[in-house]
């Protein structure tokens, strides 16, 4: 077998403690070469601290970080072949767009003609040709974002770090930038590490996702794995919405002592008079609340004998009038046994 390329980034039991606070606690992680990797989690979960440790702005209190096999744990940022797109873009306000983008080459003393050539290439890559002479203050949020990207990519780093770069953009622009970022990543072939608290963004863009919670990595996997087979209640709750069923209710439905999660869209609102299909779990209940959301409708169903479940159904044929009538109706919920994810506690 041919020798494998080492992982782009490897965390070996990396911890970062601030006094008593364990921002990152013994994280193990491997990010593959050329991957679009997302670090997802709520604020304060340690994802940004991990990113800052990869960039070199912060150093681990314990453990080691490897960049393509080289231990970089204690290298200063300027000695690492890694570049960052900052959350606030961090463009230099006293320099023009071109000067900002050329900065990485300038400090490395690349000759001016070559610098300008590369800047033009980058401006084209991020579709900002002709904007080189402007100051960052004369650009819109989306344009600044592109400049920050071009500035980070011009050094052709081994790994590009993106710290919630789309957070400040409005929804439309964000969705457009998601597609563009992904396309740019394919073109340049650099490993992207993307920090976000937006689970939809992570699901849309990533090859793999690491889900952070309270300084620990809860689960690493492809978007599909994370969504369909959450390993813990936290993952099930954070990525998409999920019904978490435990204790007495879970025992009544499955006949086993388990805790499981079931996605709202996997549950069918069955007719109370019809039998649930075989190889499915079912439970009877009353529809207590109906929320019409345009694309789909969300139902809150109170189960007979305690517990409740959220169900969503797409409004393929129904109108708001149709669905709102369902309030107070009896229903037999059922779902395929394969669609539940069993978890520990």
């Amino acid at each position: 077998m041919a020798q494998q390329t080492p992982p782009a980034i490897k965390f070996d039991k990396v911890s970062r403690h601030f006094g008593d606070v364990k921002a990152v606690d013994e994280a193990d992680l491997e990010i593959r070469d050329g991957e679009f990797f997302s670090m997802l989690g709520p604020s304060g979960s340690g994802k940004t601290t991990c990113l800052r440790m990869i960039a070199g702005f912060d150093r681990p209190t314990a453990g080691q970080i490897f960049l393509y096999g080289q231990d970089v744990s204690n290298l200063p940022p300027y000695d690492r072949d890694v570049n960052t797109v900052f959350q606030d873009y961090a463009l230099f306000p006293h320099m023009s767009v071109s000067e900002n983008i050329a900065y990485g080459l300038m400090v490395k003393k690349v000759a001016r003609p070559e610098r300008m050539k590369k800047v033009d290439e980058m401006l084209e890559l991020v579709q900002l040709s002709g904007f080189g002479g402007r100051k960052p203050s004369q650009l819109s949020g989306g344009q600044r974002q592109r400049v920050a990207l071009a500035r980070a990519l011009i050094n052709h780093p081994k790994v590009l770090l993106l710290d919630e770069p789309l957070g400040a953009l409005d929804l439309k622009l964000r969705q457009q930038m998601q597609v563009e970022l992904k396309a740019i990543q394919k073109r340049v072939g650099i490993t992207f590490i993307f920090v976000t608290h937006d689970q939809e963004e992570a699901l849309t863009m990533s090859d793999r996702i690491a889900l952070f919670n309270q300084g620990k990595i809860e689960q690493i996997g492809t978007p599909a794995e994370i969504y369909e087979h959450p390993k813990s209640a936290f993952v099930a709750g954070f990525v998409g919405t999920s019904n978490l069923v435990r204790g007495e209710v879970a025992r009544r439905i499955t006949g086993m002592d388990v805790t499981f999660s079931i996605r709202p869209e996997k549950i069918h609102l069955g007719n109370i008079k019809e039998k649930a299909p075989t190889d499915s779990y079912s439970s009877d209940g009353t529809i207590r609340d109906v929320v019409y959301l345009g694309l789909y409708t969300r139902y809150h169903v109170e189960l007979d004998g305690g517990g409740d479940l959220v169900v969503v159904e797409q409004n393929l044929k129904s109108t708001s009038m149709d669905v709102l009538k369902n309030k107070g109706q009896r229903t037999r919920l059922h779902w395929n046994k394969e669609h539940i994810s069993k978890m520990g506690a």
Partner: protein
């Protein structure tokens, strides 16, 4: 009643503006600009040499007198001193301000800023006289220099005609030391404020892109803090230009602008010449600000 007034004012934002802006504006126009204007008018009168009376007739003759070699020398001397003091203060202030802005926890920062401004709480005169004692021939500084065995070096310095004198307390060199000390807080605070406003992410971005700390300082921190240096230098420069206490108490027979103005309007009773001399610093400051603008000092404001 109070409610009615509130509503009345709320609906008339322009009236509120005039009510709040009016008094200070009136003060500015009458007291501040008015006295400057008065000064300007007086500078176009002249003193009749024989009678010693002021003749209230328009003339440029008084201005011509400011260009006499003796007066030009005063302008040059004062401007050079102001430049030297400004440069010295910038050099001392920057590292201090940098340390306060970048490396101190908030609590310590408050204390350091208090420490920097603490001298301003005591009278300026007291501080000048304190320095006079420190710099005196029998003062503590001489004693200390003697202790280090550097008496020869001090004597050599004081022997240089342009800056020396009979002792540190009576020499341009001593004045320079006292000026630099007295105006230092006015340089530290603006620089510290400017540095405070440089987002830390810019420093991180610079080092992320491969810049060594010194490069980051030169290409990012210094240009962004430069308006602060200019703001501080406006203080140190103009305050040095106009001061007359320090030259009076530490200087020798070679006059500075403030001192000249003081003596022209006092002993000589030549108000027009004093007024014309006062216009000197104004012109010099305008030139200074134009140069600062040309250097891009106000671009980042």
């Amino acid at each position: 009643m109070l409610n009615k007034i509130s509503t009345y004012l709320y609906l008339r934002p322009k009236l509120v503006l005039w009510l709040t802006l009016g008094p200070p504006l009136t003060y500015m126009i009458i007291v501040y600009l008015g006295s400057l204007f008065n000064l300007l008018i007086n500078s176009f009168y002249y003193l009749e040499q024989f009678t010693g009376l002021i003749v209230r007739e328009f003339t440029l003759g008084t201005y011509a007198r400011t260009f006499e070699p003796a007066n030009l020398e005063i302008f040059t001397r004062t401007t050079l001193m102001a430049i030297a003091v400004t440069v010295m203060d910038a050099i001392i202030a920057f590292p201090l301000a940098y340390y306060i802005a970048r490396f101190t926890p908030p609590k310590l920062k408050t204390w350091l800023i208090i420490a920097v401004t603490l001298p301003l709480w005591s009278s300026y005169l007291v501080r000048v006289y304190a320095w006079k004692l420190i710099l005196a021939k029998e003062g503590i500084l001489s004693w200390f220099i003697n202790l280090l065995g550097l008496q020869g070096a001090l004597d050599w310095l004081l022997g240089i005609p342009a800056i020396g004198g009979s002792s540190l307390a009576l020499s341009p060199l001593g004045m320079f030391i006292v000026f630099a000390y007295i105006w230092l807080p006015y340089m530290i605070i603006p620089i510290q404020t400017a540095l405070e406003r440089v987002p830390h992410s810019l420093v991180e971005a610079s080092s992320d892109l491969g810049a060594k700390p010194l490069q980051t300082f030169r290409t990012v921190i210094l240009p962004l803090a430069f308006p602060g240096v200019v703001a501080g230098s406006i203080f140190t420069f103009s305050l040095t230009l106009g001061d007359f206490i320090i030259p009076l108490s530490l200087g020798n027979s070679k006059f500075f602008i403030g001192q000249a103005v003081y003596s022209y309007q006092g002993t000589a009773g030549d108000i027009p010449l004093a007024a014309a001399m006062t216009m000197g610093p104004v012109v010099i400051m305008i030139i200074y600000l134009l140069i600062a603008r040309k250097m891009g000092a106000f671009d980042a404001l």
